[in-house]
């Protein structure tokens, strides 16, 4: 099976001795991967390295077979992402922000931008400046940007942040829909175990900068009553060291 994302021996340490160590992970095309872990485990760091915002100390990430270090442009060509908070340019409108994004792809036009804003239900506010947006609206805009160019891989860091219940449900549906329709690969980090359980078909648990368990949701639910139990047992196991 084709690999969408391959993470090899990835390490990145901060000065305070926190960070990630020796992460190895493979994600197949079309999978929805859930990246679980407590706050400060290194989820965002991993994802920042994956999209080139940070340089790894060691190891490499390959996206669609292209190394993020040596072949950044090809690796990122079909990737959409939200990392940490969504920070659109505050002095531009939602539409203008989308335009900036779309300028890199020929196939993106006015209609496609409106379509994405429609999907994320912020089309009403498309001509408002971002500085007037709420957190949830910014999050929706971030998702609209991430899906704008119909990328094959979407990396989302805490996508449910700031969304209302309705928004969360819609988001789940959107992810599943894209995955089924376009075979889009998702890499989603979250601390909301319930949402991950409902959305993802593969789960990885990051604890103290180390990847402590990777398995398919199907397998996990065979052995544990819920994903939460699996998570707690994995964390417990590793906390002893």
């Amino acid at each position: 099976m084709d690999k969408a994302i391959v993470i090899e021996n990835l390490s990145k340490m901060y000065k305070n001795n926190r960070g990630i160590q020796e992460i190895n992970l493979e994600i197949n095309k079309g999978e929805i991967f859930g990246f679980l872990g407590p706050n400060g485990a290194g989820k965002t760091t991993t994802m920042k390295v994956m999209v080139g915002l940070m340089k790894a100390d060691k190891g490499d990430v390959k996206i669609n077979g292209f190394s993020i270090i040596n072949n950044y442009e090809k690796a990122m060509n079909e990737v959409g992402c939200i990392i940490e908070n969504v920070n659109p340019f505050p002095y531009l409108t939602a539409y203008e922000n989308m335009q900036l994004c779309g300028r890199f792809k020929k196939e993106v036009n006015r209609i496609r931008i409106d379509e994405c804003l429609e999907i994320t239900r912020i089309i009403k506010y498309k001509n408002e400046k971002i500085k007037n947006y709420s957190l949830g609206m910014k999050q929706r805009l971030g998702i609209a940007m991430a899906i704008l160019s119909n990328p094959k891989i979407i990396i989302l860091d805490e996508p449910f942040n700031g969304l209302d219940v309705e928004g969360m449900v819609e988001m789940r549906e959107l992810i599943i829909c894209l995955s089924q329709k376009h075979k889009t690969t998702f890499f989603i980090s979250s601390h909301l175990i319930h949402d991950i359980e409902l959305t993802c078909d593969k789960v990885g648990i990051l604890y103290n900068g180390k990847l402590v368990g990777v398995d398919s949701t199907h397998n996990i639910l065979k052995n544990y009553s819920s994903l939460e139990n699996y998570y707690l047992s994995e964390v417990d196991l590793n906390a002893d060291y």
């Binding site: 920042k48 060509n77 920070n87 505050p90 531009l92 203008e96 900036l100 890199f104 940007m145």
Partner: protein, 247 residues
Amino acid sequence: MQIIKSVFINEIFKISKKKKITAALIFSMLSVIIAAIVEYSLNNFAGIRVTGNSEFSILILTILIYSLLPLFTTFICVDMFAGEFADHTIKFTLTGPASRAKVFLGKILAIATFIICNLIVVMIFSIVASLFLNSNLPNFFKILVSYFMAFLPIFIFALAAVLISNITRGPTSAFMLSIFVFLVFIGLNLVFPQIRSFLFTSFFDWFRLILGNYINYSKILRIFLILLGYGIMFCAAGYYLFEKKDI
């Protein structure tokens, strides 16, 4: 190439949407108008023509090149680097399909474009004003060449501001430090004239060299090489820091 073009258009688009830019252009125009009024009244009340024939545009350039032009340029450079680092909007550009080298290049090109636009606005306005002030037609060729030459030192200063924006933590300190460096260089030039060849600020008004009957080409070439050296140095250092920066 397509990617650099997209980055460049995005940066220009962003610049054009900023209020600071409108303010910068309005201030440039205002300063031209104020200078024209001063010139007019000095001649009317004291009988003194501060500029000779056709020199109004050059006078404006001489004044602005040490004041508003570097100031506005610093605004843009700081906003485009330190400002975007500080409010994390840079993530947006960096996670796009453009490598950092291309993002850096696109931004630098956008800054260059801004400087050129600012110079063109000042030039056109000052030529129009000079038509009202003097009956004689200005020497368009010399004005054009002067404004063209003025671009280089301002651009070098912009690269210095970009480098500084990649060193400091916030936009305010980047701005202050850029202005400080500018003033220190100007001060050094006054206090130690013997090292003036080593300071790029000594050459802000190097366009004067082409205004006379005798044109010292070898001096112009030397200044060009000095500025070029500064440019390559600032560019390389700025890019190095930009490339290895963790967001």
